[in-house]
């Protein structure tokens, strides 16, 4: 077990991989499998350096058979191992969704609590670099809708490491959704917030607790993942214009920290949900429901959302940025709420 202390600035990708590595050191039952997680280090860097440290026996490249190897992860977990399995892009869920939603997520319940499935399924999400309709989705709303799996969505290096360690230690299946654009990859445009201070030692970030990423009094932005970074940028800009924005970084969708959301909305009375997932029938609606169930009178202004409109994600940059929840759109929506 690592006993090192101190922090350094690392990327989100590196922080994730470090979290996995620390758990692999601690527990011999932890292993990693997925496509190109070995020598390649994960297409989005989520397993950087693990192959070198732990070898091919614990960092396993798989055939392109997502149903096969996610199912194998479930079987291994049922037998007491603790697999960390990567689905390269969340967009590929459709070739293996039965294993995820009918097996990984349901076995514990179906067994009346007698069988545990301590497994992490990590997957890359998000758009912004013209990867088009089949490689750019967020889809966390899809998974959060389905019972039986925890869903975490970190926005920065510190949370990425701490949530990964929590996820591996959790006795439940945890879907860990990271944003390609927040990984801090050298080959992708990045927000400086994708590199941050991260302790060297092991620590956990609790699953099910949102973070107030920034305090403010006028408007609450409820958001997650890369949109937290954008929202923080916008909040800094708007501070100069005299608008005080509070930002709730949900971090977990299942369980959802409704308390933190309601507390913030109670304070500001104005709420904007920023979501890179599709707008309808997803996260943005759920936040609206939580508020309206509690007390619609909390809202001084109509509820607002800046989300991916209900269109497949287009390829060409002007089209893609036409639908993405950009800083400009977030800013305009906040100003509108203050008008």
């Amino acid at each position: 077990m690592s006993t090192a202390t101190g922090t350094r600035r690392v990327t989100t990708a590196k922080a994730m991989a470090e979290g996995i590595g620390l758990e692999m050191q601690r527990d011999p039952n932890v292993f990693v499998m997925g496509e190109d997680v070995g020598a390649y280090g994960g297409i989005f860097g989520s397993t950087t350096d693990l192959f070198g440290e732990f070898g091919a026996d614990r960092v396993i490249d798989t055939p392109i058979s997502e149903t096969g190897f996610i199912g194998a992860g479930i079987g291994a977990a049922v037998e007491g191992l603790r697999p960390v399995v990567e689905l390269m892009f969340v967009d590929f869920y459709g070739v293996c969704m039965d294993q995820i939603s009918n097996h990984m997520a349901k076995i514990h319940y179906e067994s009346g609590g007698n069988v545990k499935v301590p497994m992490v399924l990590m997957t890359a999400t998000g758009a912004g670099y013209s990867d088009a309709a089949q490689h750019s989705q967020s889809l966390w709303g899809t998974f959060a809708h389905l019972p039986g799996m925890k869903v975490v969505v970190p926005s920065n290096p510190y949370d990425a490491k701490g949530l990964m360690i929590s996820a591996i230690q959790d006795d439940n299946p945890v879907l860990y959704m990271f944003h390609k654009g927040a990984q801090g990859l050298v080959w992708m445009e990045k927000n400086p917030r994708s590199i941050g201070e991260v302790p060297e030692e092991s620590y956990t970030v609790p699953i099910g607790k949102a973070a107030v990423a920034r305090e403010g009094t006028d408007v609450t932005i409820v958001t997650l993942s890369l949109s937290v970074q954008h929202s923080l940028d916008v909040a800094e800009e708007l501070e100069g214009e005299g608008i005080s924005v509070e930002i709730v970084d949900l971090r977990s969708l299942v369980p959802l920290d409704t308390e933190t959301v309601l507390e913030s909305v109670g304070k500001t009375g104005r709420v904007l949900v920023v979501d890179e997932d599709y707008k309808s029938f997803g996260l943005t609606g759920e936040i609206a429901a939580i508020i309206a169930e509690n007390d619609p009178g909390m809202l001084k202004k109509p509820f607002r959302r800046v989300a991916m409109p209900d269109v497949p994600i287009p390829y060409a940059r002007p089209l893609e940025y036409g639908v993405l929840p950009t800083r400009d759109k977030i800013k305009a929506a906040v100003k509108d709420l203050m008008a």
């Binding site: 292993f31 798989t62 055939p63 058979s65 149903t67 096969g68 190897f69 996610i70 199912g71 194998a72 992860g73 479930i74 079987g75 291994a76 977990a77 049922v78 037998e79 007491g80 191992l81 697999p83 070739v95 039965d98 294993q99 009918n102 097996h103 076995i107 514990h108 319940y109 179906e110 067994s111 009346g112 609590g113 007698n114 069988v115 545990k116 301590p118 019972p147 039986g148 925890k150 006795d171 439940n172």
Partner: protein, 324 residues
């Protein structure tokens, strides 16, 4: 194969048959006059495996405690042959708190971690899970094996291909067992399956593939023994396709109007056939037949009694066990 092995297999087949027959009775008992699938002491879909006993019994005869099985939607015969507790299983089918899953799973979702038994209502999706169990056995350095069972219809599902390939590439101790009962609900095998036999498909993965042509428990026993020994020895996966018989409908309530060979079904029943063969061999007497049947009756009756006298869960228990 000794006399005792033969008797034990016969006895196990009779036990399973008695189970399936009684469940059939119980299932229908309180659904009339207006037949309602959701009504009665046993609600929901019910897929019985009568006629397919040789598959389960011939395979499971080689399994020891700690070996795993993933079964499909038609799971009772493999469950019983693999030591799953009959009382708890029955209580689960009756939806009682004493059931294997406290009434949450039901007949298609029986989980017995003690015996590494599970089943699933989504066809062919137990195959990858068995690969993972085998992976765990392999990583732990044991000689345990995992058996993945599926129907011939389900063998046309993508998961079949992915699992065979994965098991072969990783040399996993898995035995893929295909029960070919000629039918997938109303669709006959030749309308759904290209190629003569799934056993032939094994070659494409560099894996031994055997087809057991007749629904004979001893033939299954031989084929399964070789495959399981191979897996235990670290020599990797195998596939066995067993030509078997669906004696009842696909599920209870299925009128089988689509089934031309329905009339001959009873003649093909493997249990009287095996009894006759054992009598011929001088291994089984009429008295033994009667006493084996009587034991089976008593055991099954007791299990049903256990189930019926067990408490039903409370509605609010539905909210438990979502997360560990």
């Amino acid at each position: 194969m000794g006399e005792l092995d033969r008797l034990a297999m016969y006895q196990q087949m009779v036990r399973i048959r008695q189970y399936e027959s009684r469940i059939m009775q119980e299932y229908h008992a309180d659904k009339s006059p207006a037949w309602d699938i959701g009504a009665g002491l046993i609600p929901g879909e019910m897929h019985l495996a009568a006629g397919q006993e040789p598959a389960a019994v011939g395979v499971c005869a080689h399994l020891k405690k700690g070996d795993a099985i993933t079964a499909p939607h038609r799971p009772h015969h493999f469950a019983l042959a693999h030591r799953v507790d009959m009382n708890k299983m029955t209580a689960e089918i009756y939806g009682r708190t004493t059931g294997l899953c406290k009434g949450k799973g039901g007949h298609m979702h029986l989980f017995d971690p003690e015996n590494h038994f599970s089943c699933s209502g989504i066809i062919a999706q137990g195959l990858p899970v068995a690969c993972g169990q085998a992976m765990a056995f392999q990583r732990k350095g044991t000689d345990h094996v995992a058996v993945a069972v599926t129907g011939e219809g389900a063998a046309n599902q993508g998961a079949f291909h992915e699992s065979l390939n994965l098991a072969a590439v990783w040399n996993l101790p898995v035995i893929f067992v295909i029960e070919d009962n000629d039918w997938a609900i109303s669709v006959p095998k030749d309308a759904s399956t290209a190629g003569a036999s799934n056993a032939d498909r094994a070659a494409g993965y560099g894996m031994p593939g055997v087809r057991v042509e007749d629904n004979d428990v001893e033939a299954v026993y031989e084929a399964a023994g070789a495959a399981i020994d191979r897996a235990r020895a670290g020599d990797g996966p195998s596939l066995i396709e067993i030509h078997t018989l669906r004696l009842f409908g696909h599920f209870e309530g299925d009128a089988q109007a689509y089934r031309p060979e329905l009339e001959t079904v009873n003649e093909r029943d493997p249990i009287p056939q095996y009894a006759a063969a054992l009598q011929e061999l001088g291994v089984l007497s009429e008295d033994q037949i009667a006493s084996i049947q009587a034991d089976a009756d008593a055991e099954v009756d007791a299990a049903i009694e256990f189930a019926k006298s067990s408490p039903e869960p409370a509605p609010e228990d539905a909210l438990l066990h979502v997360f560990a």
